[in-house]
Symmetry: C2
Subunit: 274 residues, 2 copies
């Protein structure tokens, strides 16, 4: 039993869709969520800068005595996982890539997997590498990736249901449809808000939500270590989350509620680059 | 580490939607699936008969040295959980009701939960009792149930997308829509095949899949006991499942593939009522 919080960090608010999945499967844990909203988005930045920002976020969470660190961002996971692991030491780190890659391998029947993400995630080839590492080399599925840079700003403008985003998404997905994929990894934490639209465009696809598989991986890891919280809580309480952000951006509360499914209290504004 | 199989039983093929969720989150386990297809459906039968059948299925699985028993049927869970636990002794038993009831409690914001199921499940009031037991008595959500007896035969006829089943489902759900529920428990293992239709009728609902939450509950339980399998397997193998049924019904292979998401090999036909 370990009642320390779980630390979750992201470049901004996208990681709240990951936190939502953690709250679904680990409802009694307490959480510290850190969103680096002053420096978002990371998706087009260089690996060196992303690594620096990831180190600062990790250090912040370690000072809060977290028992587990969740890199709730595909771009940071793709670029800076080793950096984060190095600083975290004995504290386990859950990334977005490996749970989703393993889920995609299980889900695909025709061995043709699509991955959508930011430019940085796609350029890193992190999903291809992880899927190849997990599978038999003789028998490895084909992976087709597509950078979808407009989807994040659309979602953050609250336009996830807008016909314009449907037009753009159809165009992005067309290439993957032509590749006859049967499984699609939503390799960015903003994309779960686009699920109804993606399902309309690709009704028979197996959709992989990175946050969902990360949360189940975390559940397993904590259970095996005997590090889950004591659960004698009330079922009806709001999830216990402390929110830290580096800037209070426009639409913050609206977006947070859309990503999380519940409204949040006033976040703490902090500075990471001191 | 425990390499014994997980035993999953159901009155018929509905439990295959539960097995699908187990394979998703516990892909490396081996499974024994028992479907009592000769005596299906249980949904309108008396509690005494359902208990007798559940005892026979449990005994069959125990003879196969399973490490965990999953009652992959809401009706049997509602009526015969105590019977199964009694016979199972030290072997843990996962039912459909309590993981879903707990998930519904976490998902609801307005504290108005709907439950749909067979006549027997609804008549048992198992969900109301479990939700009341889990929540603060002062603060317990309201639970509204609706028996939907036609949905199982529609799904088994392969008509999950048919306009007729949409008309019937709209009629069934109308009562719950009027009660302003924000969370709907699909309290029958056939209903996950109706998700696209239910989402059309109730686009903003939190939908609870009993098999999904049962599988995560099982993952946690096995992880805490150190009873998960050794995972040094190939990722690309088909899930390891032995199928036992008591009769080979019409449309068996078609339905099995629709419920599971993959095609199954020839099942073993056995007799339970000897």
């Amino acid at each position: 039993m370990n009642n320390n919080p779980i630390g979750v960090f992201d470049s901004g608010i996208g990681g709240l869709s990951v936190l939502k999945q953690f709250v679904r499967f680990l409802p009694f844990e307490s959480y510290i969520y850190l969103g680096d909203t002053a420096r978002v988005p990371y998706g087009n930045r260089s690996p060196e800068i992303v690594k620096l920002y990831a180190r600062q976020s990790t250090e912040f969470l370690l000072e809060k005595n977290v028992k587990l660190i969740v890199i709730a961002c595909n771009t940071v996971s793709a670029v800076a996982l080793d950096e984060v692991r190095k600083i975290a030491g004995d504290i386990p780190v859950i990334d977005m890539i490996s749970p989703a890659a393993s889920a995609a391998l299980r889900a695909t029947v025709n061995k043709r997997i699509g991955v959508i993400g930011t430019r940085a995630t796609v350029a890193s080839r992190a999903y291809e590498k992880q899927i190849l590492e997990f599978s038999n080399v003789d028998n490895s599925p084909e992976v087709f990736t597509k950078a979808c840079p407009l989807l994040v700003p659309f979602v953050e403008e609250g336009m996830a249901q807008h016909p314009a985003v449907k037009l753009v998404t159809e165009e992005y997905l067309q290439e993957l449809i032509e590749k006859d994929i049967d499984t699609l990894v939503m390799g960015c934490t903003h994309y779960p808000l686009l699920v109804p639209m993606i399902r309309e465009i690709m009704p028979n696809i197996s959709l992989i939500d990175t946050g969902e598989h990360a949360s189940v991986t975390a559940l397993r890891l904590l259970a095996e270590r005997g590090d889950l919280v004591d659960e004698r809580n009330s079922f009806m309480e709001k999830p216990k989350v402390q929110f830290y952000i580096t800037d209070l951006p426009a639409l913050f509360y609206e977006n947070a509620a859309a990503f999380l499914g519940f409204e949040i209290d006033k976040p703490n504004i902090i500075q990471l680059d001191k």
